[in-house]
């Protein structure tokens, strides 16, 4: 009977007992916390969550309301320019237009100038992938990801390659402040708008004694008007791949409607506190065609707060969910009270 199941009966006598360990783990008796949905925990959870969300939400809404934002759609305002751009053969013809607007009140604090695109699917899968991070890091590689914007038919590689770079937003926008019939150009900062890591780690110009030699043997992308080493002729450190506008464009947007930081208002002189109220003009060099694929272009002036931009959604979400939680708490309280009465009379 005893050595019935042993494989080697010789061991029968010496074999230790097969009794399992009486340890807490093996007997599934580990000390455990068993969360229980009692009425107290449930109600406190609901009410505490509700209250917290409501208060956070109110704070968020208040702070989002403090954001001043001005947005103007200039895709139609420069209709002749847009018509010109619809024909791609006119690519090298310059076209300027100006948009006037009035700020009713001061925009105080740091003012950011964005260009916004609507219905421009930067997040298209093949578009997103059509780039070469290695090339942008200054490495000389021939990357197949950029295809078909890798090389020209004669074999000259494009620098930078890929569809993203090729379709770079190339309008230039200047802001003028019309103060008592005098026109003052608002000083705008074109550097420091991109992520520090992008500018210093992710993007590098090829190593050479100067930029033009660095890009020798390469050609600009087909849609571009000038080669990459001429993106910013004034500032050597903002030229080539490390050009701010280029870096920002290369960070592809998540949605079809998006904005990209273009400039920051330099807080000097009369703009030390931001943009004062008054009449302004955007002088736009209109290069980027959008109308043929039903996209739109905006220019946006905005401030930011700790919680982000002017989007009030997060605050609303907090308030609504806070309200919902509180309401749920009340509902449960009501049900509980009602049931408790009934239960007691049934149990008797």
């Amino acid at each position: 009977m005893k050595n019935k199941t042993s494989v080697l009966p010789q061991e029968g006598e010496a074999r230790p007992s097969r009794c399992p360990d009486n340890s807490a783990f093996k007997q599934q008796r580990l000390p455990a916390w068993k969360p229980q949905l009692t009425i107290a925990t449930v109600l406190s959870t609901f009410f505490v969550t509700g209250m917290l969300c409501l208060s956070v939400g109110v704070c968020l809404i208040l702070s989002a309301n403090s954001v001043r934002e001005f947005q103007i759609d200039y895709s139609d305002k420069c209709s002749d320019c847009s018509e010109l751009r619809e024909n791609s053969s006119n690519w090298n013809k310059e076209c300027h237009c100006s948009v006037n607007f009035t700020l009713e009140e001061d925009i105080l604090g740091d003012v950011f100038m964005y260009y916004g695109l609507q219905n421009f699917y930067q997040n298209h899968r093949r578009y997103v992938l059509s780039r070469s991070d290695a090339q942008l890091l200054g490495e000389n590689v021939n990357n197949s990801y950029c295809s078909p914007f890798t090389t020209y038919q004669n074999g000259t590689p494009m620098a930078p390659c890929g569809a993203i770079a090729n379709s770079m937003f190339n309008d230039t926008i200047d802001l003028f402040y019309n103060l008592n019939s005098s026109v003052i150009q608002v000083p705008l900062l074109k550097t420091g708008n991109s992520w520090w890591t992008d500018k210093n780690v992710k993007f590098r110009n090829p190593k050479s004694y100067n930029l033009s030699s660095a890009f020798a043997g390469t050609a600009r992308p087909p849609y571009w008007q000038k080669p990459v080493y001429l993106l910013d002729e004034e500032d050597e450190r903002n030229n080539g791949y490390v050009n701010n506008d280029f870096i920002i464009w290369m960070r592809v947007s998540a949605f079809a409607t998006f904005r990209n930081l273009y400039r920051r208002v330099s807080r000097i002189r009369q703009f030390a506190n931001g943009l004062p109220a008054g009449n302004y003009t955007f002088n736009i060099s209109y290069n980027f065609p959008v109308t043929k694929f039903k996209a739109r272009k905006h220019v946006i002036l905005s401030t930011v707060v700790w919680s982000g931009g002017s989007n009030p959604f997060l605050g609303i979400a907090y308030v609504v969910s806070g309200a919902a939680a509180t309401l749920a708490g009340f509902v449960i309280t009501a049900i509980h009270l009602k049931l408790r009465k009934r239960k007691t009379c049934f149990q008797k």
């Binding site: 005893k2 019935k4 494989v7 009966p9 097969r18 009794c19 399992p20 009486n22 093996k26 007997q27 599934q28 580990l30 000390p31 455990a32 068993k34 949905l37 009692t38 968020l60 916004g116 699917y121 930067q122 997040n123 298209h124 899968r125 093949r126 997103v128 070469s132 991070d133 290695a134 990357n143 078909p148 890929g162 379709s167 890591t197 992008d198 780690v201 992710k202 849609y223 920002i248 960070r251 592809v252 998540a254 949605f255 409607t257 998006f258 990209n260 930081l261 694929f293 996209a295 700790w306 919680s307 931009g309 997060l314 979400a317 969910s321 919902a324 939680a325 749920a328 449960i332 049900i335």
Partner: protein, 1413 residues
């Protein structure tokens, strides 16, 4: 090499027509090995591993591709290599499937390595093989043994291969085998040297072996083997399984055995029988596969949406925008083609919708579950040192969904420890009161040990306590206790038994102290002594017939069996010759006789001594029995029952009083005489051993047995050696066995037959033609014995009839010739043997009958009650008699005294059909009564619906014949319809085939989860037919265990296995599976929603590495841990409230509706997780990955918090893995994002996480989104907790309470249902009984015993009859159960004596009208 060899073996097979030819290897040793015809046979090296180092990779991959899901994922990964449709980088997309397959491969390697180590160990065991060079046996490893080698085996050695026995040191050429390793049977088997070799008493010389052995090809039949040996002179000697030593068995009691290897290694019978673990698919997995198809459908729809959307979106442009990138040649796809490609891309993108890691996770979780089940101390049997064995690794959760249990009776519900209880000789019943009391103490001892004893009060229906009629039980219980306490010789017995337990005998089957120590009945003992004295005086036929029948009876008990004897002092040493006192001369015998006479004289002196007052209690209960039986006896004679009953009672009283007074002494004398040489009996069936022990108790000790002789020591010490002329073994067709012996004193040829009463009774001598008075007497004895037998059966005893027949020499010679012919016959040998046996076993003289009790295992009633309460229908399928089975059913609470029991016994189809219809109608009527009640409760929320009245419960008793009719007559559906309403079904007299047919029928037709539990070979087919087979590793070998999925050692373990582990495993796995679906859908949907914002272009906003890791690492461990460790309700509560089991039974956690709800929730959560960030970042300068990163984080948090909501148990492990997952995610993301400038071209998520972590919006998002996503779920949980108090929730609340309060609450919960059910049952039964009394003939035997009378056994019955004299005479018509019908007015709680009388009469009338067809 092995495969090569096998190939050649196959070739040979064709040539040799399924014959294997073996010659000695010795002539070919070393030099001419290539000429050896044996070289093609497989060597003895075993290899159970699946792989080698070289073949592992291809073979394992090949095996893994058998799984559909793996192929699916590989195809998708390959699809990724097609440039037009790829969604991810192809190389990266291989990672998940590779990881999954690698984990599976590692698991396989580990398992294979364990097998390898075990193989190695076995292969290197040593044995002795004859070598020609050395002219001696040299030690070699097992693996080097070849077919044709000569192996020398010593005592206690394990046999290395299948060996044909050629020599044994035993003078008779016998070798003893222990086959425990093979089939678990612990009794020794005899093996015989091949005939022609046994006569050679000289030592066997292998070098002289010139014979050729021709035998059958290797097969897995352990009981069949045949072949012949061709000697050099072309003489053929046949042999069979009796000469084959099987690999893995152990040599016992034989110094040396030598044989030639016939089969080696994998071709041995043991290895061919070893089929490894079984694979079954559990119910959850079946459901899961269906849901996976639903997921595939969902995937298809989503991909279609993507494809159509992309087509339309592409087509909407008049001119291609710059973001629509052309292909390499600068060309654009047509919208239709783009749409088509997008469909494929989307499949790749959304592939995770089908949970890739689910299969491997389930496997891991099940391993963990099995580990925990295996380690449960409560399922460990200390006595046998056996924990539970989980043989099937992948159906743990099925344990939680069982709806039907099919159980064997003997050895499963009962202990299969056969205990001799009573006997009747010559129509006189001997009740063995003392023995009964001894057993009672044992039972009490057992009860003390019982683990669940503390829980027992839960299982007793509380209503019983209040009912007025339970006072009987109350008063009766202490009385019985006091009786057993007073019997002071109890202690003696117990001490002895305790002392013995330590000795080596415990390894012999069927020899536990409780089986061995039979306390003789004093009255019988006295008579036996008288009778024996007469026998000794060589005057067997002069005096009373009774005395000779008595000796014959006990001789038959001692002889008529196949029990082997070994001594206790030297274990496992077979006794073939009576060692200490040989019957050498008459002088020794005479001395003994004198000695005995002296002893007897002193005995009779003690008879006169006055009665000791302390034995009053004992005599009291003894008298009751006597009275009972006396009443029985006199009713047969048709005399005045009461008067003669009284007289008999008085007589009985006297005799027992005297008996018990001197019993101590008598007992001592008996034990003294039997103690010095304490024999150990090894029997194939427990009944046999029990009878031999019983005979021993009366001094008829079986001393030795050889195939030719059997020696019995008579009470006086005389040794009688009978020559065995023939043994007709037991078989299930004849249901009896016989032994033909020559009596040493009278030289008569006597046939002793022992068998089932139904068979023996038919074969008794019709009538003695010469003597009318004798005939009358015989008839009376027969009738009385039949009465007693019925009585035994009702008491749950197993009955056997003992009969004898005296043959004259001529008749026997005639028959013997006939028999020899039959044995020699080649064709239809079996039939001929059967015929000869039947020829002999006729015209028998009835000696008596025995009642053997097969005691209920402890905890069985409790377990059955709990399982029934858990909503499991329990069917008992047994080969036993109906009465026995029904009574066991009552005593183990399978049938309740409140139940209405239908019995269907018929052999004609028409009656069966009408019976089924009638019964069905009746049952349905009941349910119609129930219906309005049910509807009324249906309106009320779940909490009250759960307490609805279950109504009266029905039991069904059916026998094997009726089952046959049902199966053959196509009445299965009606039968099932009926059984659906019965909470327990009892199938008696059923064959193994019927058992499995019933199990299959229920499983297939009702589509329910079934479990079969059994312990014997006859349960194997049933065990295999059910969804879960459970084997009880008991006394009847290992066949059942081998066939089972789980092996337990006690029936009571089933309670915890099902109610706790089953529930847990089901709840864990179901929740885990559903969680996996949820997790994948809610995550993948994020990608899907994004498609609506990127022109259905297949963009992903989450970096692919992070996506892969999300499923593989960040969210994989918590659900795994959850699947192994979560406890929704504590074990104590689960045991206390068996109803909780219904949760799993009804698949409440994982079914289609919960699946759909979870899917909807997953959709909702993914919508929240997508759109909250979307709306937050809308119209901002967010880039793709910066948008995806918070979404990934949010998703992770939501998914983990969802898990946290589901988890009911938080241990340190849980907390660590939960927090660890989040921390791991953050750390990984930070490192990855900081280092990945170029690692993942073309788009690298560089510095995203770092940037996000410095943004307050990120934190705000991470806070609010999980809240919004989980708020509805939490709200519903809260609502459920407040309104619908489901039982599970209540149980969870109970867990929180302190211990005492918890018990109280559990009882409260349980009692809440009881009053309603009883009320319903009672009210219904009123109408029922009225209907019954009006009906003229009711073909159903129907019992509706009074409520609360739940503790039934025979002694209780006696108690009640004793207190109520008018109820005493039942006029012989004893209904199966105390047939007490609830009379009108009983529910008001008043039970008067008049009422008792009334319904007794009623019951009488009913049982007359109840015709069993």
């Amino acid at each position: 090499y092995l495969s090569l060899g096998r190939g050649k073996v196959k070739k040979k097979k064709k040539k040799n027509e399924n014959k294997r030819v073996i010659i000695s290897n010795l002539p070919f040793e070393s030099k001419k090995w290539k000429e050896n015809p044996n070289r093609y046979y497989g060597s003895n090296k075993i290899k159970t591993t699946k792989y080698t180092i070289l073949t592992f990779l291809p073979k394992n991959i090949y095996e893994q591709f058998h799984r559909f899901a793996n192929i699916y994922f590989v195809v998708i990964a390959l699809l990724n290599f097609v440039p037009v449709v790829n969604a991810f980088q192809p190389e990266v997309s291989m990672i998940p499937i590779c990881v999954i397959m690698a984990i599976t491969a590692i698991k396989d390697v580990w398992e294979d390595f364990r097998r390898y180590k075990l193989d190695k160990e076995i292969n290197h065991m040593g044995c002795y093989i004859y070598s020609r060079e050395e002219h001696a046996y040299v030690e070699k490893c097992w693996k080097d043994v070849q077919v044709g080698d000569f192996v020398q085996l010593q005592c206690n050695e394990t046999i290395p291969a299948d060996i044909l026995l050629l020599y044994s040191s035993d003078q008779n050429g016998i070798c003893h085998l222990e086959t425990a390793n093979l089939d678990g049977e612990t009794n020794l088997k005899q093996r015989q040297v091949v005939m022609g070799f046994s006569s050679q008493n000289t030592f066997f010389e292998p070098e002289l072996f010139q014979n050729t052995i021709i035998c059958e090809m290797p097969n897995n039949d352990l009981n069949k083997f045949k072949g012949y040996m061709e000697q050099p002179n072309h003489e053929r000697v046949g042999f069979n399984i009796e000469s084959l030593l099987l690999r893995g068995c152990t040599i016992r009691n034989t110094e040396v055995a030598i044989g030639i290897v016939i089969y080696a290694g994998h071709e041995t019978k043991a290895m061919l029988n070893n089929n490894g673990p079984r694979y079954k698919r559990s119910k959850i997995e079946r459901q899961m596969n269906m849901d996976i198809f639903l997921c595939v459908g969902l995937l298809f729809v989503m991909c279609l949406v993507g494809a159509v959307g992309h087509g339309i979106w592409t087509g909407s442009f008049s001119e291609h925008p710059p973001y629509d990138v052309p292909d390499e040649n600068g060309e654009y796809l047509s919208p239709f083609l783009a749409g088509f490609y997008m469909f494929l891309t989307m499949i790749i993108l959304l592939q995770v919708l089908i949970p890739i890691s689910l299969y491997v996770s389930i496997e891991l979780v099940k391993l963990g579950q099995v580990f925990l089940i295996h380690n449960d101390v409560d399922l460990y049997n200390e006595e046998a040192d056996l924990p539970i064995q989980c043989r099937a690794l992948n159906i743990t959760e099925d344990l939680g969904q069982i709806q039907y249990i099919f159980s064997d009776k003997t050895g499963t519900l009962t202990e299969n420890k056969m205990v001799f209880r009573r006997c009747t000789v010559d129509g006189i019943e001997f009740s063995h009161q003392e023995n009964a009391r001894r057993l009672e103490t044992h039972k009490e001892l057992d009860l003390d040990d019982e683990d669940f004893a503390k829980l027992q009060h839960f299982t007793l229906p509380p209503t019983n306590i209040e009912t007025p009629d339970t006072y009987k039980q109350k008063t009766m219980r202490p009385l019985r206790r006091c009786q057993s306490a007073r019997a002071h010789f109890q202690g003696h017995t117990r001490n002895r038994s305790l002392g013995r337990r330590d000795s080596n005998q415990s390894q012999v089957a069927f020899s536990s102290p409780i089986e061995k120590d039979v306390t003789p009945d004093s009255r019988l003992l006295r008579r036996v002594r008288e009778a024996a004295l007469q026998t000794e005086n060589l005057s067997p036929f002069i005096h009373m017939k009774t005395s000779t029948s008595l000796t014959d009876f006990f001789l038959a008990l001692a002889i008529c069996n196949t029990v082997l004897v070994s001594t206790a002092t030297e274990p496992r040493q077979r006794v073939t010759v009576p060692p200490p006192i040989k019957p050498s001369g008459i002088t020794l015998e005479k001395i003994h006789q004198i000695f005995q006479r002296l002893k007897l004289a002193s005995l009779s002196q003690s008879f006169s001594s006055s009665q000791s007052s302390s034995d009053l209690g004992a005599s009291f209960s003894a008298r009751n029995t006597e009275e009972q039986l006396a009443a029985l006896d006199c009713c047969d004679n048709g005399n005045d029952c009461c008067a003669s009953g009284r007289g008999d009672e008085l007589q009985g009283k006297d005799s027992t009083d005297i008996g018990s007074a001197s019993l101590d002494e008598v007992f001592k004398s008996v034990t003294n005489s039997s103690l010095p040489t304490d024999f150990c009996y090894e029997a194939e069936s427990p009944d046999e051993a029990a009878l031999v022990y019983a005979a021993q108790a009366y001094g008829f000790t079986l001393v030795s047995r050889t195939p030719e002789q059997v020696t019995v020591r008579l009470p006086q010490g005389t040794l009688l050696t009978f020559d065995i002329l023939c043994t007709l073994g037991f078989d299930s067709v004849r249901k009896r066995m016989s032994v033909v012996v020559r009596h040493p004193l009278t030289k008569e040829i006597v046939v002793y037959t022992k068998g089932a009463d139904s068979v023996i009774m038919d074969m008794l001598e019709d009538s003695a033609k010469d003597d009318i008075s004798k005939e009358k007497k015989m008839k009376r004895i027969k009738e009385k014995t039949q009465k007693h037998l019925d009585y035994y059966a009702r008491d749950g005893l197993r009955t056997l009839c003992i009969a004898k027949k005296v043959l004259n020499e001529d008749d026997f010679q005639k028959w013997a010739n006939f028999r020899r012919e039959a044995e020699a016959a080649i064709d239809n040998r079996d039939e001929l043997l059967m015929e000869t046996a039947q020829h002999l076993e006729t015209k028998l003289t009835l000696l008596g009958a025995t009642g053997i009790e097969d005691r209920l295992q402890d905890g069985v009633p409790d377990t059955i009650a709990a399982l029934q309460e858990a909503g499991i229908q329990i069917w008992v399928l047994t080969g036993d008699k109906q009465e026995t089975a029904v009574n066991i059913a009552y005593s183990c609470k399978l049938l309740n005294q409140r139940d209405t029991v239908f019995t269907i016994n018929t052999e004609s189809k028409e009656t069966c059909e009408s019976l089924l219809n009638l019964t069905l109608e009746e049952v349905r009527k009941n349910y119609e009564v129930e219906k309005p009640r049910r509807k009324f409760f249906g309106i009320i929320p779940a909490s009250f619906a759960s307490s609805e009245a279950p109504g009266p419960e029905f039991g069904l008793v059916i026998d094997g014949r009726t089952l046959n009719v049902i199966f053959q007559g196509g009445l299965e559906e009606k039968f099932l319809a009926l059984t659906k309403h019965c909470h327990s079904v009892l199938c008696c007299r059923s064959t193994p085939l019927q058992k499995s047919m019933v199990a299959k029928l229920v499983r297939r037709q009702l589509k329910v989860m079934t479990l079969s539990i059994g312990d014997g070979a006859n349960d194997v087919s049933m065990i295999q037919a059910a969804d879960i087979g459970i084997g009880i590793s008991g006394q009847e070998g290992m066949q059942a265990v081998m066939a089972s999925d789980f092996a337990i050692s006690r029936f009571k373990h089933l309670k915890k296995l099902l109610l706790v582990h089953g529930h847990w495993c089901y709840a864990r796995l179901a929740k885990m599976v559903i969680y996996f679906f949820y997790k994948n859908v809610s995550y993948v949907n994020l990608l899907f929603w994004y498609q609506f914002f990127c022109g259905f272009s297949g963009s992903t906003m989450i970096d692919y590495w992070q996506m892969i890791f999300f499923n593989l690492f960040f969210t994989s461990v918590p659900p795994l841990l959850f699947g192994v460790l979560d406890r929704d309700v504590s074990a104590e509560t689960l045991l206390g409230l068996p109803e909780l089991y219904k949760n799993g039974q009804n698949s409440e956690i994982y079914n289609l509706s919960t699946f759909i709800i979870t899917m909807l929730d997953a959709f909702y959560q993914s919508l929240v997780c997508f759109f909250v960030p979307y709306l937050t970042y809308e119209d901002s300068d967010i880039d793709v990955f910066s948008f995806g990163n918070p979404m990934n984080t949010i998703s992770l948090l939501t998914i983990l918090l969802h898990q946290a909501l589901e988890m009911k148990t938080w241990t340190l492990f849980h907390l660590v893995t939960m927090i660890g997952s989040v921390v791991f995610y953050l750390v990984f993301s930070l490192i990855y994002n900081a280092s990945c400038v170029l690692c993942n071209p073309p788009a690298n998520p560089y510095w995203i996480m770092e940037r996000q972590l410095s943004d307050p919006t990120f934190y705000l998002l991470c806070l609010i989104t999980p809240v919004i996503a989980l708020l509805p779920r939490f709200f519903i949980f809260a609502l459920r907790g407040t309104i619908g108090t489901s039982l599970i929730l209540k149980a969870q609340q109970l867990d929180k309470l302190p211990k005492g309060q918890q018990d109280l609450e559990i009882q409260k919960l349980r009692s809440r249902k009881q009053p309603t059910s009883v009320a319903a049952a009672v009210s219904h039964r009123d109408t029922e009984s009225q209907r019954l009394s009006t009906s003229e003939v009711n073909p159903l035997r129907k019992q509706t015993p009074e409520k609360g009378y739940y503790f039934f056994n025979r002694w209780a019955e006696e108690e009640s009859t004793a207190t109520d004299p008018s109820a005493g005479p039942f006029c012989g018509h004893y209904p199966l159960v105390p047939s007490r019908v609830t009379t009108p007015g009983q529910d008001s709680g008043k039970l008067t004596k008049g009422n008792v009388n009334n319904f007794n009469h009623g019951s009488h009338r009913r049982s007359v009208s109840a015709v069993t067809l």
